[in-house]
Every structure is written in C-alpha cells, then in structure tokens.
C-alpha cells in the first residue's frame, strides 16, 4: 500500500510542473574551490576521515531540476548545512528550497540522496531534511525523503530516475 502512495506523491510533483515554480531565482556566485594543502609528510597508512568539504564537493555541482544552475549557485545547499560524523557513519544534510512552495523540493532531496548513495560507503546513514521554516509542507517532504520504502519506490519510476540522472549528469559544472 505504502509503496503505491510513495509513487503517487512523488509523481504528483512532476505533473505539477507545467510552468516554472520559481521563474527567476537569485543566482549566487560559486565559492572558490578550496584547495586542500597536501600534508607535509605523507604517511601511507594514515586515515583521512570523510569531512564536510568532501561531502559538499559531492553535492555542489548537482544541477537544479528547473534551472541550468548548480545547487551551490542557488544556495540550496552550503557547506555549513552539512553535518558529518565519520566515526559514527552519520551525515545530515539540510537544504533550503529557493521558494517556500517549491514543489521541486522532493526532487532535489531525492537527487541529494541518490548522489550520496552512490558516493558514500554503505556504512553511512544519511538524513536529509528541509531547513526549518523554508518550505510550506516541510514535515511531509522530510518524511517522504527519509522513508526508505518511498525512496526505493520512487527510484523504480523511470521518469523520476531519468530526471534525477539528468541533475546528476557528470558533464555539468566542474568535473575532475
């Protein structure tokens, strides 16, 4: 039953997109990529834990579903909005949709989740949520994004997968 609901809920958000939700978003400058200073004496066996910046580097170039800008440029995500605890394998991402009623919020959240699923070790638990007060149906979206079954169901929908993959396409933005 729930699986069906999930599909419906996410599918709905696509149908709604006939016109642009936020036709004229504010575009911010990209932050300069911090170059990590190479450690002076390289210890072959030293561990470099996964940190905020590393996760931000994974996410910053994801394309917005409706504009040709990256999530970083639209300030949907920022480095500070990422909490990471490598020893406990836990990440929490807080993102801010550009407008309160943005129906794209679920898609953005789904993109974030898929990207992290593909980039982080399987031991990680990922929590994704909308910044408090930045969206009309905050609770509903948060619930949807962190429900394993609903996410799995969404990823069985070929339309959604195509949309997500388009946002994650590696040709966009800076590729190393």
């Amino acid at each position: 039953m729930r699986e069906g609901k999930g599909k419906q809920a996410l599918a709905l958000s696509i149908k709604m997109v006939s016109g642009l939700i936020n036709a004229n978003p504010v575009v911010y400058e990209k932050k300069e990529r911090r170059v990590r200073s190479a450690p002076a004496n390289v210890d072959e066996y030293a561990v470099e834990p996964i940190d905020q910046l590393e996760i931000f580097d994974h996410l910053r170039d994801i394309k917005d579903p409706e504009h040709p800008y990256s999530l970083e440029e639209l300030k949907v995500i920022s480095e500070d909005a990422i909490e990471v605890d490598d020893s406990n394998s836990y990440v929490r991402i807080t993102f801010t949709p550009t407008v309160e009623h943005c129906s794209m919020a679920t898609i953005i959240g789904l993109c974030l989740r898929v990207k992290l699923m593909r980039s982080l070790p399987s031991r990680y638990k990922v929590d994704i949520r909308i910044a408090p007060g930045s969206h009309a149906t905050e609770a509903a979206v948060n619930k949807q994004l962190n429900d394993k079954e609903r996410v799995a169901a969404a990823l069985e929908n070929p339309n959604l997968v195509e949309m997500v993959d388009e946002c994650l396409a590696p040709t966009y933005g800076f590729s190393n």
Partner: protein, 1138 residues
C-alpha cells in the same frame, strides 16, 4: 604544333560539367603544360576554343572563359608578346560586363594585370580601360563571396601597380570604392577592402583632392567596423584572426590625416565602452593614428584626450594590487593590465607630441594637484584607503610617463612637484644647499610619507630610463642631460637620505614593509644612474653598495628583506653590463664581489652558510669576471676546509664542505659551461684537489664520511665532464701517477695486469673498510675521473686500470664498477688490421674482464662469471660481482654490444633453482642458506634496473657516453621472448616472483612505443606480475610503474585492441590493485585504469559491470580522500554503462 584533337579533348573535359573536379584540374594542367612546352600557342588555343568563348549558352561560355583565364594564371611566368596581351585584356575587359560569365573575366584580368615587365605587362591604357569597365559594370556587393574577393583583389592590384592609370579617374575611383566596400561582411574580403582604402589614401593625399570630398562618407563606412567584432572561433579554416582584421583596420584608419576629424572623436567615444577589448583597441588605434595625423591635428583634441585618459588609467589600475615582493623590484605591479598599458603608452605619445600643451593640462589638473598637495598625508601604506592608493598610484604613473618623454618635460614635472615632495620627505631647503655631511641628521622614517616615497621612486626611475635611453642614442653625456643636473642639484642627497632612513628602521619584523621596499628600490635606481650624470657629493654609488651588502650580511633572519637586498644588488650589477657603465665595475667588484666572496672563508657566525653560498652564486652569475672571483673564493674555502678535514676531526667544516661542493657542481659549473667560460677553472680545480690529496698522508676519520666523499666525487665528475679532451688527458696522467706512487696499489700488479687476483683478500667481507682512507679517496677520485672522460681521451694503461677496478669492485666499491662500465662503453672496438688509438681495444678489454682468473686458496682458478654462478660460498662476494657485472653490462648495452646477451644470461641463470632446494624439508642451516641465496637472486633481478634505467652517477649525457639509438627498445624486444619462455618453464614461486621483478624493471624502462607494439603478448605477463606484486609490499614501486605502463596501453588506440581481448583478465588485476593497502598512488592509478576500461566497447565490458561495481563500492570507504573521489568518478562511469 600540337595536334588539335588532343587540345579539344582536354577542353571538352574541362567544360563538361559532369566531370569530377579532379578530372577538370587534370585537363587544365595538361593544357597549361602544352602551352608551356611551346607545343601550342595562345592564338591557336583561342582559335580552337572559339565557340566556347562566344556561345550564347551562358554556362558553357562561363566555363570557356574561365578555362582561358585559368590557363593564363598558370602561365604567369611565361613571356607573352604585347599584341597577345593587348587582345586578351581587351577581351576580358569587355567580358566584365557579362555578369553571367563574370568569374572567368575577373580571373583573366587578375592573371594579366599581375604580370610583371619581364614577361610582358598590361599597358597603362589597357589598365585604365579595365578600371573604367570595372567601375561601370560591376556592383560588387551583389556578387558572391568568391567573386567579391576577386573584385577586391583586382582593385587592389590596380591601385598598387597601375597608379598612373588610376589617378586621372580620381573621383570615380573613390566613389566606386565606397560603393563596393559598403556593407561588406566577409573577413577575407574585409582584409582586402581595408588595404584598398589604405592604398587609395596614399594615392590621393591632397586635402582638396577626390578623397577629401568623400572622407566623411568613406570613414563612416570604415567606422562601422570598429571595434572589430569577430566571433569566428576556429581560425584554422580561415587563416584570419581578429588581430589581423583589427590591425588591418587600424592601418586604414591611420592611412590619411583626412580621417582625423571623424576618427579621433569615434575612438575617444569608444574609450568609455564597457567592452575591454574595445578599450584596448581604441587606445592602440589612437596611439597609432596620433603618430600619423601629426601634433597639430591632435592638439585640437588634447583636452578630451587627457580627460578620458585620466579616467581610463584610474579605472584600469583599480584591479592592480601593488606587490612588494622581491621579484617586483623591476616593475612595481603584477600582473600587467592591457588597458592600463595601452593608456599609458598613448599618454606618452601624446605628451611627446604636444609637450607643453599636455604638461599644462596634467600639471594644471585639479585631481592631480590635489594628490600632489596632500602627498605628505599618505603616511603609511596600510592606513591609506584603497581608493586613495589607486589615485596615488595612477598619478604616479601619469607623472612618470610624462617625465619620461623628454628632458624638458622631466625638468618641468620635477620642478612643479618638488616643493611638495621635499616637504613630505622631511627635507628642508636649507638642508639641501647647506653642506651637511650625510647621515648627520637622519630623517625619522615614521615621518616620511608612503605617497612621497612612491612618487619619488617612480619619477626617479622615469628620469633614469630617460637619461640612459638618450645616452645610448646620442653618446653625448654633456649636451642633453646637462639640463637635468639642475633638477637633481642637491635633490639627490635628500632622496638618498630619505631612502637610507627607511632602511635604518630597526623593526624589520614586518614582512614586506612597503617603506623598506621603496627605500631599496630607490637606492637601486640611484645606483643605476649613469655615472657622471648625477652630481652628488662623495661616493653615493659606493655608499649604496655598502649599505645593501650590510643588509645582506646582517639580516639573515628576515628572508624577505634579505632576498630584496640581494635582488637589488644583482640588478645593479647586471645594469652595469647591460648599459655599459664600466666606471662602476671596479667599485662593485671591490665592495660587493670581494666582500661576499670573503664571507665564504670568514668564520663569522652571523650568517648561515647556505645563505652565504646563495649570495655568492647569485653575485657570480651576473658576469664572468665576478664568477671567476667567486670561484676563487669558493675554492679557497673548499681547500682550507678539506685540509682541515684530512688532518683533524672537524664536523662543522665537513658540513660546509658538502654544501660548497654541491654549490660548485650544481650552480657554478653549469653556469660557467652555459656562459662559455674557460675550461681552465674546472681543470685547475681537479688538479688542485688531486695535489692536495697526494700531499696528505694520514686522513682523519671525518674524511671517511660518505657525504663528503660523494660530494667530492660529484664535483670531480662534473668538472672533468666539462673539460675538453686535452685537459682530460692531463688530468688522467696526473691521477695515474698518484695511483702508481701509492704502495697499496702494489706496483707489481699494476704493471703486470694479467696476473691472477689473489682471492684471499677478497674473502673477508670488511675488506673495503680496512682499506686506508687515503687509498680509498684516491681510488674514488680515479673512478670519478674515468667515469667523466670523453670516448677519445687516452687512458695510458687501460689494462692496469681494468685490473685495479676488477679487484676493487669485487670488494664492493661501486664507483669502480661504474668506472669499468664507462670504460667498456667508450673504448674503441678493434678495426680490421688498424691500430687502435688506445693500447687496448674493446674486445681485449672484455676478454680481460671475463677471463681474468682469480686464485682461490686450495682450489683451481676461477673467473668473474664463476663467482656470479656461486662458485664461491661467499655470498657478499657474489653480490658485489653481480652489481659490478650489471654496470659493465650497462656500458655495453648502451653502445649496443652483443656481449650484453651473455651478461643477461648470467643474471637469469642465478634464478634457476639449485639442486634439492625446493624439495626436501630444509634444516635450519639450509634455510639460512636459502635466505642468503634468495637475497642474491634479488640482486640479480635488480641488476636489470641498473641495466635499463638512466643513472645520475655515470653514463648519462654529461659524461659523454656512446649511445646507440633505441638501445632500450632493442633490449626490450630481445628480452621479451626470453622471459616468456622462462615463465612457462618456471615452477618455483620464489623464482617466479624474482623473474617478474626482473621483467618489471625491463618493461617499466622500455619506451612506451615499444611496449605498445608488443601489447598483445605483454598484457598477460603484466597482469600476472601485478597480481604477484599485490601480495606484499616488497614490490610496491614496481607495481606502480607497471600500472602506469598498463594505463599507457589503455590510453593508446592500438593498445586498446589488445586490451579488449583480455578485458576480463585486466579487470581482475585492476580490482586487486584498487585495494592494495601499501601505496596510495597504486590504488588511484588502478581506479583511473578502471575508469578508462569503462569506455571500451560495450559488449566487452558490460558483463563485468556487476563485478566492478561491487569492488568499487568497497573502495568508497578508502582511508585516502583522493582514492575515494576517484572511486566515485569511476563508479559513476560504470553504473551509467548502458
């Protein structure tokens, strides 16, 4: 005459539109060659073609005329008679009106008009007729691109070569010109059109002439093209760039002063454009045009020019940050800004053109004056607002540029800002003329304003450049620049005092203090003023040098200041030679070079030794004479130190010696060689070194330290390597004589080298340590000398040398082995019947090395290869023998000698398991024996690295080896099948891993192109080797190198074919490499290779997708970040594989 049928056939082939372009071209060529060879005349051809040229069918007629025209183009260098030319040009001129067959007419006209006098030229009357017809019947802009281009070419040709025909038609020509270039858009045509305008302007310079009447109209057409907007990105298909178009248009703009009333306002207007490229272009055009239009015409616009330039300069300097790093002592700001440069260049031109007018404007400008008046208030760089910084910077640059234009303007600028500057620098007028001894009353540096210092430095620099430039041009130091004396009168002392006082501040703690930077720069400028021109009392130049040297010697802690002062000294020194100021040379030598050179020997502790050496080499590299002085200092210090080392235990001087030697071989010698220094220096150095060691009897323990010995050997090798053969001969003689005088290298053996070597001495392992220190030094130096010799240098007793080195390398002395390798590399082979220059041929030397027998106590005699084959139970002897053999092999391999095969076989035989080794249970003793044996095998495997890799120590390009081209490639191709068969035969795992080690050395060093050729055979071996190395960390570097080879194959088009066949095998191997825990680059490269694999044909790699994705998922948790990022990228590529 040629048979008409042949001609007809060709003509028909050309005219037939169904034939291919290639066939038509062939027909054209055939006709042209008929004409060239004289088998056909033009008349005959025209007669034959008759109907084709006049038919009413436009297509055939066009083709026919084009054929005739093309044929004429082919005959451009064949003489034609006047009548033929006349009738042909008349024909084509008429055809210009025939728009359906225009192409041929244009080509024909062009072909005829371009002929020169030698081969028959079109007469002026005919040319005039062409022009008239052109103007009457052609509407250029209604034609296609290629026809337009031809039209422009024709017009260009007429204007360029037939000006007498053009001039009478003045008005018509100009009107026609305007009409034809209006609205042109094609870049190629535009290039021609711009050039035509320029030509026309030159033909009609008269201010009342035909051009003057339509100048405005014509310029309006041209003006539309500015600034050039050229979006065509790919330049290769056009050969025209934006720059070409832009400079061509610039020449058209500046072609006649008649354009001035229209061009200058347009360009000035574009100065306020938002487009940076438009600004840059406008400035460039203005600069060029003002030169062509002349001062009078430009004077009208002076005010507007100054206003706009001021704004442009202010705006463009905004982004430039002043840099106070030592590198910017020459130019104040980095990076350069194109707009600022353009604006300042134009300002300079403008000031030079209308001196008084512009100086009035500049010096009377309210903004400029405001800055000058308030200059004393800009005290500290850090406290001034950034807007004021920009303004001070801009005003400084403007004044400097104006001062640079002439002595008169220099005087005026100085005169007008002098009171303000003096006040700001804290110098009273009384000070200037009163005869204060300098240093009497220091100006408090806190009082000196940054702005004033900055302006003074910029202005002084400008006046120096002006004087140096005018001196170079006139060589009359007393005429022009005399005027400048007056401005500097007394002024310089004030400035100098101000600069010195900035330096004498005690708190040098701040890094890059702008005051100090400007002080040093100011001093540098003073010191580079041409000698007699600066009327300053006493010895300003010497004071400055002393000051800077003391900064260098006393401020070693502050790296910025030290480098700054050093750089200033080097700049001053170079300036002396660049601008020929020989009168300053002696002072510089005495104060700077002597002092710094003496630092090397002084025991003064204030300055760290590496800094002393850096200062010395920096100063030396200014000029050869200085370098020679520095070399003297270095050698003096070196030999004093060495003699201390030989006689007493002095660790401190040992350290310094190593640094000295290192500086000598890496900085001084290469510089001397590059700047064409004499070989006397290195030769005498080696000779002195040898004499010194000869004179010492007992060497202290410090002398045995490896560091000193290695550094000395390096220096000797480089020094000998840079000598000519003659000097090398002398050095070799000397070394040999020292050697033979030593009792240790016993005389008997030395003169009878065929005697067997006593093995007794070789048996004790610490034999090398027991060798007396002096003998070890002499031996090492001898080896170094031998290593660096030219192939043609004569070694007096090669046999004895070989014998000696054989004996010593078996004791583990590696330089001896390298010297042997060098000898066999450079000896001459035996030639048929001829005497070899040296007393021993290559063959004899090889024979000596391999058959020299060694006497073994209680046993029969054995040879080198027997030792390698473990005939002795002494393993360390066996290892020394293997290493030595590898160096000998390297020498032979590089010259491409066949004997190297035997040597490699010796190495390979070491791998073959000895009896009973692999089978029975081993007793502890046997086990130890086995361990020893495996270490010997490892040395045998690593011998291949010595064979293949380039060595720093010997047989590299600095030491003149004989190198056969592609020797590595050849060796690789020989070895590959041998390895293949050995891998098949081999059953022991130890042998197998060592065999792979040897194989890896060969593959890694082989050129990629050779590896790619054998990719199919190689891949299975590579994959096996990587899998074996991935089991432990012993071969991690080799594993990395092998992965790089594999990635090289993967990246190549041909290599990929081989990879596709073995895809699954390679993927397995890569998967094992991406989890290799011992080396991060291995994992990274493994992932990159996997990424590359994902681009292979889908059918091949898709079945492996799941396996790869599972493996990569594990790597996502790699301890290293770089690897994780690479894993994400790789995973992305593989998961989208569909």
């Amino acid at each position: 005459m040629a048979e008409p049928t042949e001609l007809t056939r060709h003509v028909e082939a050309y005219i037939d539109t169904s034939r291919s372009p290639a066939q038509q071209a062939a027909a054209l060529e055939a006709i042209a060659s008929l004409l060239k060879s004289g088998r056909l005349t033009i008349e005959a051809m025209v007669r034959e073609m008759g109907l084709y040229l006049t038919t009413t069918d436009a297509i055939i007629r066009a083709k026919g005329i084009l054929l005739l025209a093309e044929v004429l183009s082919c005959l451009s260098s064949n003489p034609l008679d006047k009548i033929t030319i006349h009738s042909l040009i008349t024909f084509f001129t008429e055809r210009l009106a025939d728009w359906k067959a225009l192409r041929g007419a244009l080509v024909g006209c062009l072909a005829l008009m371009r002929r020169n006098d030698q081969v028959g030229r079109v007469t002026l009357d005919d040319a005039k007729a062409v022009l008239e017809s052109f103007l009457e019947s052609l509407h250029v802009q209604s034609l296609g691109q290629h026809d337009r281009k031809l039209c422009f070419e024709l017009l260009e040709c007429l204007l360029e070569n037939y000006s007498d025909a053009v001039i009478p038609l003045g008005n018509q020509v100009i009107d026609g010109l305007c009409e034809s270039i209006d609205m042109e858009k094609d870049p190629e045509c535009l290039m021609l059109a711009f050039h035509i305008v320029k030509l026309a302007a030159q033909l009609f310079p008269d201010p009342d002439g035909p051009l003057a009447c339509v100048a405005e109209e014509l310029f309006e057409i041209l003006g539309h093209y500015f600034p050039i907007h050229f979006t065509h990105q790919k330049a290769e298909d056009l050969n025209i760039t934006r720059d070409n178009l832009s400079s061509s248009l610039m020449l058209a703009f500046s072609s006649t002063p008649l354009f001035e009333p229209f061009a200058v306002p347009l360009l000035l207007e574009k100065l306020s454009s938002d487009l940076p490229s438009a600004k840059v272009d406008a400035l460039k055009y203005l600069n060029h045009c003002s030169l062509k239009y002349g001062p009078e015409r430009m004077a009208k616009h002076a005010e507007a020019i100054w206003r706009l330039l001021k704004d442009t300069i202010l705006l463009s300097l905004r982004e430039l940050i002043l840099s106070f790093s030592p590198e910017s002592l020459d130019t104040l700001e980095t990076p350069r800004n194109e707009i600022a440069d353009g604006a300042l260049t134009f300002l300079e031109t403008a000031v030079a053109q209308n001196n008084d007018l512009f100086l009035n404007l500049i010096l009377g400008d309210a903004d400029v004056n405001l800055i000058i008046q308030s200059i004393s208030s800009y005290k500290s760089y850090t406290e001034i607002s950034s807007e004021m910084k920009e303004r001070v910077h801009a005003v400084g640059r403007i004044l400097a540029v104006s001062a640079k234009t002439s002595i008169a303007s220099c005087n005026r600028v100085f005169g007008s800002i002098r009171p303000c500057l003096l006040e700001a620098l804290g110098i009273s007028v009384r000070d200037l003329y009163g005869n204060h001894p300098h240093g009497h009353e220091h100006v408090d540096s806190e009082e000196i304003s940054f702005g004033a210092l900055f302006l003074s430095v910029l202005l002084l620099e400008a006046s120096r450049d002006l004087i140096v430039g005018s001196e170079k041009a006139t060589f009359l130091p007393n005429s022009g620049p005399e005027a400048s004396h007056s401005i500097f009168q007394g002024f310089a002392t004030g400035f100098e005092r101000a600069f010195i006082s900035t330096m004498s501040r005690n708190n040098y703690t701040e890094v890059s203090n702008p005051h100090v930077f400007l002080g040093v720069k100011g001093l540098q400028i003073f010191a580079t003023f041409p000698g007699g021109l600066l009327p300053i009392q006493g010895s300003l130049f010497e004071d400055i040098l002393t000051m800077l040297v003391s900064v260098v010697t006393q401020n070693c802690k502050n790296e910025w200041l030290w480098t700054l002062a050093m750089k200033a000294l080097v700049n001053i020194g170079s300036y002396i030679f660049k601008y020929h100021q020989p009168e300053k040379g002696p002072s510089f030598m005495a104060i700077v070079v002597e002092k710094i050179s003496s630092l090397l020997t002084s025991t003064e502790l204030g300055m760290p030794y590496p800094l002393k050496l850096e200062a010395a080499s920096n100063v030396g590299m200014i000029e050869m004479n200085y370098m020679l002085r520095i070399v003297r200092g270095v050698e003096e210090a070196l030999f004093t130190n060495l003699s201390e080392i030989y006689t007493q235990v002095n660790i401190k001087s040992a350290e310094e010696t190593v640094q000295l030697l290192h500086c000598y071989s890496t900085k001084i010698l290469p510089w001397m060689q590059e700047s064409g220094g004499t070989e006397q220096v290195p030769m005498q150095f080696v000779a002195a070194l040898l004499s010194q060691i000869e004179g010492c009897n007992d060497l202290s323990s410090v002398a045995e330290e490896k560091g000193i010995m290695d550094a000395t050997m390096e220096a000797v090798k480089f020094a000998v390597g840079s000598c000519s053969e003659a000097s090398q001969n002398i050095i070799v003689e000397k070394t040999c004589s020292i050697l033979s005088s030593s009792s240790y290298f016993s005389v008997d053996e030395y003169s009878f080298p065929t005697l067997p070597i006593e093995m007794e001495g070789l048996l004790s392992t610490n034999e090398l340590e027991s060798m007396p220190a002096k003998e070890k030094w002499v031996l090492s130096l001898f080896a170094s000398v031998i290593i660096a010799l030219h192939p043609t240098t004569h070694i007096s007793n090669v046999r004895a040398a070989i014998h000696l080195f054989m004996r010593t390398f078996l004791k583990g002395h590696i330089p001896s082995a390298q010297a042997l390798g060098s000898i066999v590399n450079k000896l001459c082979p035996r030639q048929n019947g001829e005497r070899v220059p040296s007393d021993c041929s290559l063959e004899e030397a090889i024979d000596l090395i391999f058959n020299l027998s060694m006497r073994y106590p209680g046993k029969s005699k054995i040879t080198l290869s027997d030792i390698c084959h473990a005939a002795s139970t002494n393993k360390s002897l066996q290892i020394s023998a293997l290493v030595g053999l590898a160096w000998i092999g390297k020498g032979l391999l590089m010259r491409g000698h066949d004997k190297v095969k035997d040597i490699t076989m010796i190495f390979l035989e070491c791998f073959l398991p000895t009896d009973g080794m692999s089978s029975k249970q081993a007793s502890p003793e046997e086990e130890q024996d086995q361990n020893l044996h495996s270490s010997v095998m490892k040395y045998a495997a690593d011998s291949f690295r010595i064979l293949m890799s380039d060595s720093e120590d010997c047989l590299n390009r600095r030491f003149h080896p004989i190198i056969r081209p592609l020797y590595k490639q050849r060796f690789f191709s020989i070895m590959l099948p041998i390895f293949q068969s050995l891998f098949v035969k081999c059953d022991s795992s130890l042998t197998r891993s060592l065999l792979y080690r040897a194989f890896a050395h060969v593959v890694c060093e082989a050129p990629l192109i050779a590896v790619l050729g054998e990719a199919k055979k190689l891949i299975p071996l590579l994959v096996d080797a990587i899998l074996i190395f991935s089991k432990d960390d012993a071969g991690k570097d080799l594993m990395y190198s092998l992965l790089l080879v594999l990635s090289g194959i993967l990246m190549d088009k041909n290599g990929q074919d081989a990879v596709i066949d073995n895809a699954s095998m390679i993927i397995n191997c890569l998967i094992s490499s991406i989890t290799y825990p011992h080396m991060m680059p291995v994992r990274e490269t493994g992932l990159q290779c996997l990424f590359a694999m994902s681009t292979l044909p889908h059918t091949r790699v898709y079945p492996l997708r799941t396996q790869v994705l599972q493996a990569i998922a594990r790597v996502l948790d790699d301890p290293k970040r770089v690897v994780r990022l690479e894993a994400v990228r790789c995973r992305q590529a593989w998961s989208f594989l569909c």
